[in-house]
């Protein structure tokens, strides 16, 4: 398992590949060296063998010329008994052993097809007259034997000697064969082989070890560090840095990796920041939608309530006219101070109260059906003031205006705005209790880059209590005496201003007076 894993790693593969090449190269080198050495040794052995055979021929030459057979045999025996000499045999032309270091062989006849004959003769061809050699296995199979064969050529001495044993025409008189033991040579080759193998193995091991260390330090360790870094980064640890301070490709890779994780961290931070902003924006949008939805529900509620109110008001106005008219007619028939007169006064008062409620309801009914057009606020204010100016309620109230002539146009439903302004002025007058000053001021204001037209209604009345401020825009909330207010005026005004994209704010101080500020979005001025 571990071996398998090691082999699959980059270092493992490199070591395996280089190691295999090293071993194959070493083995080839070893084989070449071994073979070359062996050949050199055998060549020198053959050379020595041939010299040895020459030496036999020379040693026996005189005895042969003088035909001293015994002397030849004794010489052959003496030479053959030396160390490393396996056997020495001398054959005559017919292949018969005539002298031999081992006497057993004397007289044995070689078959023409024997291996010794074939070295010089082909099956029927001419005689090869050059010396030859071959190597064969020894009898005990533990060392090899070098077999040297040299022909004995006919020389003038031979055919002129007194024995006249050989005619002149004969070229080859016989053969000298010597078997030389290669035991020492084989031993030496074996020793050298072992030595070379040890050297090659040691060399391979040293090279492989060095290679391993180099690969481990320069490839495996940094690659492992990079892999670890990538795992850390993949797991989200973008602050992780790889410490490889090198100027090679690995160092460059580490620097690139660090730069990459830096970029990733930056991108992640940006993304998170963006996500947070998005969440906030979504929340804001959701709240805005919720508010708009509430407003819509409210508007719908008001609209249907308005339709009903309008229907009811219209139906009730006519009978109310009857009650009021006949109440007044009856009133005139009873002198003031009588109980009947007081009863009729109650009827008339209550009818008037009904009438006021209906007026409020009708105003409420109209709050949701705005038809907006380009409108000049100052103009609407002036026409509203014209309506109230001559009313008895305003006889002792000073109406002061401070209108900004440069106030731009707004998109609004003028009659609805007039209704709002009328409400504001009537409320201010009520707050003043018949005497004081109402100041109406228009101006341009800017809030969060949006231009607004502001209308301020300031009175010198008694101010508004904190607990009333909270409920001031609620329908049917009123602080006016029973029968005087319906509690619909500010609710209707608030609805209208909201429908116009504006708002109403209040600034009040008990005993000093109140300011109502109406903000309406100004139209963008077109060039």
């Amino acid at each position: 398992m571990l071996v398998n894993k090691s082999l699959q790693s980059l270092t493992g593969k490199l070591i395996f590949a280089i190691g295999t090449l090293m071993i194959a190269g070493s083995m080839l080198f070893w084989l070449f060296l071994f073979k070359y050495q062996e050949k050199e040794l055998i060549d020198s052995s053959v050379k020595y063998g041939n010299s040895f055979v020459d030496f036999i021929k020379n040693s026996t030459r005189y005895a042969m010329l003088t035909a001293h057979g015994t002397l030849i045999q004794q010489t052959v025996e003496a030479i053959g008994g030396a160390e490393g000499i396996m056997n020495v045999r001398i054959f005559n032309r017919t292949g018969k052993v005539i002298y031999s270091a081992d006497k057993k062989h004397i007289g044995t006849q070689l078959d023409k097809g024997s291996s010794l004959c074939i070295t010089c003769h082909t099956a029927s061809g001419p005689v090869k007259e050059t010396p030859s050699w071959k190597i064969r296995k020894g009898e005990q199979d533990d060392y090899r034997v070098l077999n040297i064969v040299q022909p004995i050529y006919n020389q003038p001495d031979c055919y002129t000697s007194s024995c006249h044993a050989h005619p002149r025409e004969q070229r080859v008189l016989g053969i000298v064969e010597a078997d030389l033991s290669l035991e020492l040579l084989d031993h030496s080759i074996k020793q050298q082989g072992i030595a070379i193998t040890v050297y090659v193995l040691a060399f391979s091991i040293v090279i492989s070890g060095t290679l391993c260390i180099i690969l481990w330090n320069f490839v495996s360790t940094p690659v492992t560090m990079l892999a670890q870094g990538m795992r850390r980064v993949a797991a989200g640890d973008l602050d992780f840095k790889i410490n490889i301070n090198r100027k090679d490709e690995i160092g460059e890779l580490a620097n690139t990796f660090n730069a990459m994780s830096d970029e990733l961290r930056k991108a992640k931070n940006e993304l998170m920041e963006w996500g947070n902003t998005l969440e906030k924006k979504v929340q804001e949008k959701t709240e805005a939608i919720h508010r708009a939805q509430q407003q819509l529900i409210h508007s719908e509620k008001l609209a249907s309530l308005g339709r009903m109110a309008a229907g009811v008001a219209h139906e009730i106005n006519s009978p109310l006219t009857g009650i009021v008219t006949f109440g007044h007619l009856l009133q005139k028939k009873f002198p003031q101070g009588t109980e009947d007169r007081e009863d009729i006064d109650v009827i008339i008062d209550q009818a008037n109260r009904c009438s006021n409620i209906i007026k409020g309801l009708l105003g409420f009914a109209r709050a949701t059906t705005a038809e907006k057009d380009q409108t000049n606020i100052n103009d609407v204010l002036n026409s509203t003031l014209n309506i109230v100016k001559n009313k008895a309620d305003f006889f002792n109230i000073k109406l002061s205006t401070n209108l900004d002539p440069s106030l731009g146009m707004i998109k609004a439903d003028a009659p609805q705005l007039q209704q709002v302004f009328l409400n504001m002025i009537v409320n201010a007058a009520d707050a003043c209790e018949g005497k004081g000053t109402i100041t109406i001021t228009t101006s341009k204001v800017n809030d969060n880059g949006q231009d607004y037209a502001q209308v301020e209604f300031r009175d010198t009345g008694y101010g508004i209590k904190d607990e009333d401020l909270e409920k001031i825009f609620e329908p049917f909330f009123t602080t006016k005496p029973v029968g005087k207010g319906t509690g619909l005026g500010l609710a209707v005004s608030h609805g209208i201003i909201q429908d116009h994209g504006g708002k109403i704010t209040i600034s009040t101080k008990i005993g000093e007076g109140t300011s109502f500020f109406i903000w309406l979005p100004a139209l963008k001025e077109t060039a």
Partner: protein, 124 residues
């Protein structure tokens, strides 16, 4: 004493009755019509100084009645009676030639004052 001839056009009996009880004692001669077409028919037959017409009526509304009267009998004054008063309808009525408008529910005094104002200016 006949201070003037008035035609009241209103689909509500009680409104017509209220007008009659308020204005007849003041010396005005009153005739009643239940709707626009009936009122116009009466105008074809006799001359009126003033027409008090309701604004919201079935078949024909007060604005239409006003338009026809101002076209055919320009000398007859018209006062719009409305229980559904808005600034824009009032402005529209005045633009179309109505003398004035009066809100329902009205008191006998306010009705008498409005009508008296009409005749005061007519008689100048």
């Amino acid at each position: 004493m006949n201070r003037g001839k008035i035609l009241v056009i209103d689909d509500e009996d009680i409104v017509r009755l209220s007008c009659s009880r308020s204005l007849v004692p003041e010396g005005y001669e009153l005739k009643m019509a239940k709707n626009g077409p009936e009122g116009l028919k009466m105008l074809e037959e006799e001359t009126f100084d003033l027409v008090l017409t309701d604004l919201k009526m079935p078949n024909m509304d007060g604005i239409e009645v006003l338009g026809t009267i101002k076209e055919k009998w320009p000398k007859t004054d018209v006062v719009i009676v409305t229980g559904y008063q808005t600034v824009e309808t009032a402005v529209k009525a005045i633009k179309l030639g109505a003398f004035d408008y009066i809100e329902k529910p009205f008191t006998p005094d306010s009705l008498i004052a409005t009508v008296a104002n009409v005749f005061r200016i007519r008689n100048r």
